[in-house]
């Protein structure tokens, strides 16, 4: 069995407004796997990811990435984590290349040009390198978000609904990119509302609802045990939770 690259233990998060977003979450994510984290809106997926990435402060519990505490050893962990956020977030007045150079600078990379060139090619952004953010289509913006998250060549990549609102062509392009990242040995944590996406990509799947992890299971075992598509399993668990 592969080693855990992320180890979450009894994680709890209550926001200042009193919303209890995560309830005693414990989870291990293995090295090199694609981990699908599914759940309805407001289930706690983004909160969980943001705590690991450093955007949200936990209330209690512990989170280790590559064996280091994400708060105490944040320099170590953040330089090894890449986050593709749900929302498009980059300066619309900067060009694609300027955006990526800035991002590389924030991560302390002195000569990022070879890496940026490689990413632009892989994400089919090469001809848009000098285009300013506001002139890009929604799909292109999403690619820039992915390029930003990968510019420091992280070992762990969080993809928080990366294909929301993108066309079929780009979705397939992103899927193949995810597969490629896996081949390169990266660990990928994917949240998505497209269950067929999780079914196609993920090796293990967790369903989270109302701040609680309902189950974590190998995808193959999950599908064979239930004998139904993932969408039906998802509906069954989330619906059960609602009726409890």
């Amino acid at each position: 069995m592969s080693e855990s690259v992320i180890s979450i233990s009894h994680l709890d998060k209550t926001y200042r407004n009193g919303f209890h977003a995560l309830k005693d979450v414990s989870l291990d994510i293995r090295e090199g796997e694609i981990f699908g984290l599914l759940g309805p809106n407001g289930a706690g997926k983004t909160t969980l990811i943001n705590i690991i990435a450093g955007l949200v402060m936990k209330t209690s519990g512990s989170v280790l990435a590559l064996g280091k505490d994400v708060e105490k050893d944040y320099r170590f962990t953040r330089s090894r984590i890449g986050l593709v956020q749900q929302e498009i977030a980059f300066d619309p007045f900067l060009s694609v290349i300027e955006t990526l150079r800035l991002q590389a600078g924030y991560f302390g990379i002195a000569n990022a040009e070879p890496r940026i060139d490689q990413l632009l090619k892989e994400l089919r952004l090469d001809d848009k390198r000098n285009a300013v953010g506001r002139s890009l289509s929604g799909g292109m913006k999403r690619r820039v978000m992915i390029a930003k998250a990968l510019v420091h060549d992280p070992e762990i990549v969080f993809l928080d609904e990366p294909t929301a609102g993108v066309d079929v062509d780009l979705r397939e392009n992103l899927w193949s990119l995810v597969e490629k990242m896996k081949e390169m040995g990266k660990t990928i944590i994917l949240t998505t509302h497209y269950l067929e996406e999780a079914e196609a990509l993920a090796q293990r799947i967790a369903i989270i609802n109302q701040g609680k992890i309902l189950f974590v299971e190998e995808k193959e075992k999950l599908l064979s045990d239930h004998g139904t598509p993932l969408a039906d399993i998802y509906r069954k668990y989330v619906h059960q939770e609602k009726t409890v």
Binding site: L55, R75, G105, Y106
Partner: protein, 253 residues
């Protein structure tokens, strides 16, 4: 300390001078020239010398200081509030930068930008006043630390304010009145006793007089006192900013 991220932020902030030259340089230069023409030339000729220098020379250091503080404040504040609106501040929060490095990046960038603005205003001022810099090192220290004080204030307001309306209170209702009351256009010796005492509670009074000392060797306050006050304000601003960022207030949930 990793200097690449710090310099990345600083470079981005300074690049605004070249990307938005009319806004960053043009506006303060135009305003200063108007002040030189109206107050310096038209009114100054009737006022005569103050503390041994012409009126236009007397007001020049204060005008540089006023533009410097508003530029340093507005630069950081607008960058920060825009990055909050665009959600790009998260790029810094997920990076391996420490809070101090983030603050330093903004402060160095803003100070650099303000020094360029101050230099440009001074070059324009040379059309009205002869070149004279009695204590150039003192001028540089004042530019760096005063710029840093107001860059930090801009950072604090950028974090705390939810919109431009809230933040406009500072430049319009606090910085500008304190600049004018800090003695840009007059010496405190011209004021009644109670107003003189009141002026000494205004940090801009020390900043403007410090600058005047740097250029002409004249001031209403001892230069080391001016420098001491500026340094104390800098430390206080740094402490507040550090505490604010560390707490995650309005930056992290």
């Amino acid at each position: 300390m990793n200097f690449i991220p710090v310099l990345t932020i600083a470079k981005k902030e300074i690049s605004h001078v070249f990307k938005l030259p009319l806004q960053v340089l043009g506006a303060p230069i135009a305003t200063s020239i108007l002040y030189f023409l109206v107050f310096g030339h038209a009114i100054g000729s009737r006022v005569g010398d103050i503390q041994g220098v012409s009126y236009i020379e007397f007001i020049m250091p204060g005008l540089i200081m006023m533009n410097m503080v508003t530029g340093a404040f507005n630069g950081v504040f607008s960058s920060l509030i825009l990055s909050k609106y665009m959600n790009t501040f998260t790029d810094l929060l997920v990076s391996p930068m420490s809070y101090l490095e983030i603050i330093m990046g903004y402060v160095i960038g803003s100070v650099g930008r303000s020094i360029i603005t101050a230099g440009a205003i001074y070059v324009c001022a040379l059309f009205f006043v002869p070149f004279r810099a009695e204590h150039p090192l003192f001028i540089l220290l004042m530019l760096i630390f005063v710029g840093a004080c107001f860059a930090l204030l801009g950072f604090i307001v950028g974090v705390v304010a939810d919109n431009f309306e809230q933040a406009s209170i500072f430049p319009n209702f606090i910085i500008m009145p304190l600049s004018f009351l800090g003695g840009i256009f007059y010496s405190v010796e011209m004021l009644p006793a109670f107003a003189q005492t009141l002026s000494r509670y205004n940090p801009l009074f020390y900043m403007i007089n410090g600058m005047r000392y740097g250029f002409y060797g004249i001031a209403d306050v001892r230069p080391l006192v001016a420098l001491g006050v500026v340094f104390t304000v800098f430390i206080a601003m740094l402490a507040i900013t550090w505490f604010l960022v560390r707490s995650g207030y309005k930056l992290k949930q």
